[in-house]
C-alpha cells in the first residue's frame, strides 16, 4: 500500500506542476504528456536521483526556452520557475501550518504516504483558488513584457524565486539541526512576498493593457480625424473645379456659337487638359477609401497615405469593389497592414522611383491585400528574410515579417506570399472567406 502511495505522490506532484505550468504560460500540453512525463521522471529516479531532481528543476525552463522562440527571456524564465516555486510553497504551507492544526504532525506526514499524497493532490486546487480569488491572469504577459514594460518587476520576481528555491533546497539537503524552523520562517516570509509580487505584477499588467487599449483607440480616432479633414479638402477642391468647369463650358459655348474654332481650341488646351491631369493627381486616390467598409482600416490607410505624401512617395490605392470586414480578428488585420505599409514606406523612400501600390481585392471566396513598393536593389533575396529572423534584426523588414508570421500562426488558412524582382518588392496576403475564425 505504501509503495503505491509513494508512486502516486511522484505522479501527483508532476501532474500538478504540469497543470500550473499550463495554466500560467498558456502553452498547450498534450494530455498524454500527463502520463508520459511522470513515468519518465520515475524511471529517471531509478537511474539517478540527482539527474531526476535536475530534470524536474529545469524541465519547464528548458521547455519555455526551446519551444517558444519569440517571447522575452525574462518571461520564459518566469514561466519556467513559477510552477516549482508555487508548488513547493503550497506543499510546505499545508504540511507546516495547516495539517498540524488538525493534529497531524510533520513527522506523521513524512511517514504516512497517504497524507503526503493528499497534500500533493491539494496543490493545484489551492493554486487555482489563490489565482482566482486575487484575479491574477498572466496570459497576456507575453504581449506586454516583449514591449519592455514591467520588465523590472518581473526580473525581481525571477531573482527572488531563484534565491528562494536554492536556499530552500540547500537547507533540505544540508539538513542541519534547526532546519525545519528556518524553513518554516522562510515559507511564511517568502510566501507573503511572493503573493505581493504576483498581485503587484498583475496590477501593473492590467494597467498596461488598459493603457495600450486606450492608446489604440486614440490612434484610431486621430487617423479618422485626419481622414475626414483630407476628405473635406478634396471636396473643396472638387467644388472649385466644378466652378471652373462651368465657366469653361460657357466660354466654349460662346466660341461654338460664334463658330470661332480658335477660341474653343485655346480654352480646351489651356484649361481642360490641365484640370484633367489635376483629377488624376494621386491625392484623389483617397476617395477610393469610401469602398472600404471598416473604419479602422480606412484610418490606417489614410494615415499611411498622408505619411507617404509627406515623404514624397507616389502612393496609389486600388480597390476593386467594396472591401468588407476582414475574416480575421480586426486588430490582427490592422497590425499586419500597418507593418506592411511601414516597411513599404521605409524601403520606398530609399529607392530611386519611390512608389507604393496598395490594392484590396475581394470576391466570394477570398479577400486579398497586395502591398508593392519600389526598392533600391534589383532583387531582395526573400529567402534570407524568412530563414533567420534573428540575424536580420537590424533590418526593419525582417523583424516586421517575423511579427506578421507570428500573428498568422493563429490563422492557418491565410497564405502569405513575398516576391521580389526588377526593383519591386511585393507582399500578398490571401484570406479565405470561408471558415472565418482563427484558432484562438
Amino acid at each position: 500500500m505504501d509503495i503505491l502511495f509513494k508512486e502516486l505522490i511522484v505522479f501527483s506532484q508532476i501532474v500538478s506542476l504540469l497543470l500550473i505550468y499550463n495554466h500560467i504560460s498558456g502553452y498547450k500540453i498534450p494530455f498524454y504528456n500527463y502520463f508520459i512525463i511522470p513515468l519518465f521522471t520515475r524511471v529517471l529516479f531509478f537511474v539517478s536521483p540527482v539527474v531526476c531532481w535536475l530534470f524536474m528543476m529545469f524541465m519547464f525552463i528548458g521547455h519555455a526556452f526551446l519551444i517558444n522562440r519569440t517571447d522575452a527571456n525574462t518571461v520564459k524564465l518566469f514561466f519556467g520557475l513559477f510552477p516549482s516555486v508555487m508548488s513547493t510553497l503550497i506543499i510546505r504551507y499545508y504540511s507546516y501550518f495547516i495539517f498540524p492544526i488538525f493534529g497531524v504532525s510533520l513527522a506523521m506526514i513524512e511517514n504516512q504516504y497517504a497524507i503526503s499524497f493528499l497534500i500533493n493532490c491539494l496543490v493545484y486546487p489551492t493554486y487555482y483558488l489563490i489565482m482566482y480569488s486575487v484575479k491574477v491572469d498572466f496570459s497576456e504577459l507575453n504581449k506586454i513584457i516583449s514591449q519592455g514594460y514591467l520588465m523590472r518587476s518581473l526580473l525581481i520576481s525571477n531573482i527572488s524565486m531563484i534565491i528562494y528555491y536554492f536556499v530552500f533546497q540547500l537547507s533540505v539537503v544540508l539538513n542541519y539541526e534547526n532546519g525545519i524552523a528556518f524553513r518554516q520562517h522562510m515559507v511564511i516570509i517568502y510566501g507573503m512576498l511572493f503573493l505581493i509580487l504576483m498581485i503587484h505584477l498583475n496590477g501593473g499588467l492590467k494597467e498596461q493593457l488598459e493603457f495600450d487599449l486606450l492608446n489604440q483607440k486614440n490612434r484610431e480616432l486621430q487617423s479618422l480625424v485626419s481622414y475626414s479633414r483630407q476628405m473635406e479638402a478634396l471636396y473643396e477642391e472638387i467644388r472649385g473645379f466644378r466652378h471652373d468647369y462651368l465657366n469653361v463650358l460657357s466660354s466654349i459655348k460662346t466660341g461654338i456659337d460664334s463658330n470661332d474654332m480658335e477660341t474653343v481650341k485655346m480654352v480646351y488646351q489651356s484649361v481642360l487638359e490641365k484640370t484633367g491631369r489635376q483629377l488624376e493627381n494621386q491625392k484623389f486616390h483617397l476617395t477610393h477609401l469610401t469602398q472600404i467598409e471598416n473604419e479602422a482600416i480606412k484610418g490606417v490607410v489614410s494615415t499611411k497615405f498622408l505619411e507617404a505624401q509627406n515623404l514624397g512617395i507616389d502612393m496609389t490605392i486600388e480597390i476593386e469593389q467594396i472591401f468588407h470586414n476582414p475574416s480575421i480578428d480586426l486588430l490582427d488585420f490592422v497590425t499586419i497592414l500597418s507593418i506592411l505599409l511601414d516597411n513599404a514606406l521605409e524601403a520606398a523612400v530609399d529607392s530611386e522611383t519611390s512608389i507604393i501600390k496598395l490594392a484590396f481585392l475581394e470576391d466570394t471566396q477570398q479577400q486579398v491585400v497586395v502591398v508593392e513598393n519600389s526598392i533600391e536593389e534589383e532583387q531582395i533575396m526573400v529567402g534570407s528574410l524568412y530563414a533567420h529572423p534573428a540575424s536580420t534584426k537590424g533590418e526593419g523588414r525582417g523583424l516586421g515579417l517575423v511579427k506578421i508570421r507570428r500573428i498568422l500562426e493563429l490563422y492557418p488558412a491565410v497564405i502569405l506570399q513575398t516576391q521580389s524582382k526588377s526593383y519591386i518588392f511585393r507582399q500578398t496576403l490571401v484570406f479565405p472567406r470561408t471558415e472565418s475564425k482563427g484558432l484562438k
Binding site: 522562440r69 484623389f284 476593386e320 490594392a359 524568412y386 498568422l408 488558412a413
Partner: protein
C-alpha cells in the same frame, strides 16, 4: 493568324483605334483576320471561338454607365483562355494596375489621353509583343495544392523547393521570385507530381529546377542562388531523378 477584338463604345475612339491597328497590320505585313469591333461585352464574348495568344483584345474599361464592364469581360475571357492577350485602353483613372495583374495577368494598359503618335506606338508595341509570343506555345502547367483550409496555385516552372516552416504546420514554398507560406504537410506534397522529390526530412525539391548538386556538402543548388540540403541516403536517387529529367528535355528538343 492574328485576331484582333476591340471593345469600345465611343464613336470617335472606335475610328481612332481601328485606323491605327489597320495601319500597323499593313505596314508590318501581319497576317490577320479583319478587326472586329464591339460596343457590348456580351456580343464580343459570343464571337470568341478560339484560344491562344494570337487572340488580342483591346478593351475599354468603362462601357456606358458600367465602370467595370471591360474588367468583367476580361475576367470571362481569361477564365476561358489563359493565353489570350488582353490590353486595356482607357483613361488613366480607371486603371488599377495591381488588381488587373493579380486577376488577369493583363499585358498592358494604354492611356486614351495620350497624343496620337504615342498612342499608336504603344498599340504597335503591344501587338508585336503578342505576335512574338505565338511561337512558344509552351503550355504553362500549374502546381495546385488544396488543404481543408486554403488553396494555392503557382506555375510549376517557378517552383524551386518546399521547406517545413519554423512555424508549426506551415510550409514555405521557394519560387524563382519569392516565397509563399501556407498551411500544409510535406508528405502530402511530395507525391503530387513526379518531378517533385523529398530529398531530406524537411525539403521537397523540384528536380527540373536544380542547377547542380554539391555532393561533398550535401547541398542542392538552384538558379537564383538558393540552396537546400539532401540527406546522404537520398543523394543517389536524387541525382538519378535529375538526370532523367535532363534526358527527357533533350529528347524533346
Amino acid at each position: 493568324m492574328l485576331r484582333v477584338f476591340v471593345l469600345e463604345d465611343d464613336f470617335f475612339q472606335q475610328g481612332r483605334i481601328e485606323s491605327i491597328i489597320g495601319k500597323i497590320i499593313s505596314s508590318h505585313n501581319i497576317k490577320a483576320k479583319p478587326l472586329k469591333l464591339f460596343e457590348k461585352a456580351d456580343q464580343l464574348l459570343e464571337e470568341v471561338k478560339e484560344q491562344g495568344s494570337h487572340q488580342v483584345f483591346f478593351l475599354d474599361i468603362q462601357i456606358g454607365q458600367n465602370r467595370k464592364e471591360g474588367l468583367e469581360l476580361a475576367k470571362k475571357i481569361r477564365s476561358r483562355d489563359p493565353y489570350a492577350t488582353i490590353i486595356f485602353t482607357s483613361t488613366f483613372t480607371e486603371f488599377l494596375p495591381v488588381i488587373f495583374e493579380y486577376r488577369l495577368a493583363a499585358l498592358d494598359f494604354i492611356d486614351k489621353m495620350l497624343s496620337n503618335g504615342d498612342y499608336a506606338n504603344r498599340i504597335e508595341a503591344a501587338l508585336l509583343d503578342a505576335i512574338n509570343k505565338f511561337g512558344d506555345g509552351e503550355k504553362e502547367d500549374a502546381f495546385y495544392f488544396e488543404t481543408a483550409k486554403s488553396a494555392i496555385q503557382v506555375p510549376f516552372r517557378k517552383i524551386l523547393f518546399f521547406e517545413t516552416s519554423p512555424i508549426v504546420h506551415k510550409i514555405l514554398l521557394h519560387t524563382t521570385d519569392g516565397i509563399s507560406e501556407f498551411y500544409g504537410q510535406l508528405s502530402k506534397i511530395e507525391n503530387l507530381d513526379e518531378r517533385l522529390y523529398r530529398c531530406n526530412k524537411s525539403f521537397v525539391v523540384n528536380c527540373e529546377n536544380i542547377t547542380f548538386v554539391e555532393k561533398s556538402e550535401g547541398k542542392v543548388h538552384f538558379e537564383n542562388g538558393e540552396y537546400c540540403y539532401v540527406s546522404k541516403l537520398k543523394q543517389k536517387k536524387l541525382l538519378e531523378k535529375v538526370k532523367s529529367f535532363v534526358v527527357d528535355l533533350n529528347g524533346d528538343i
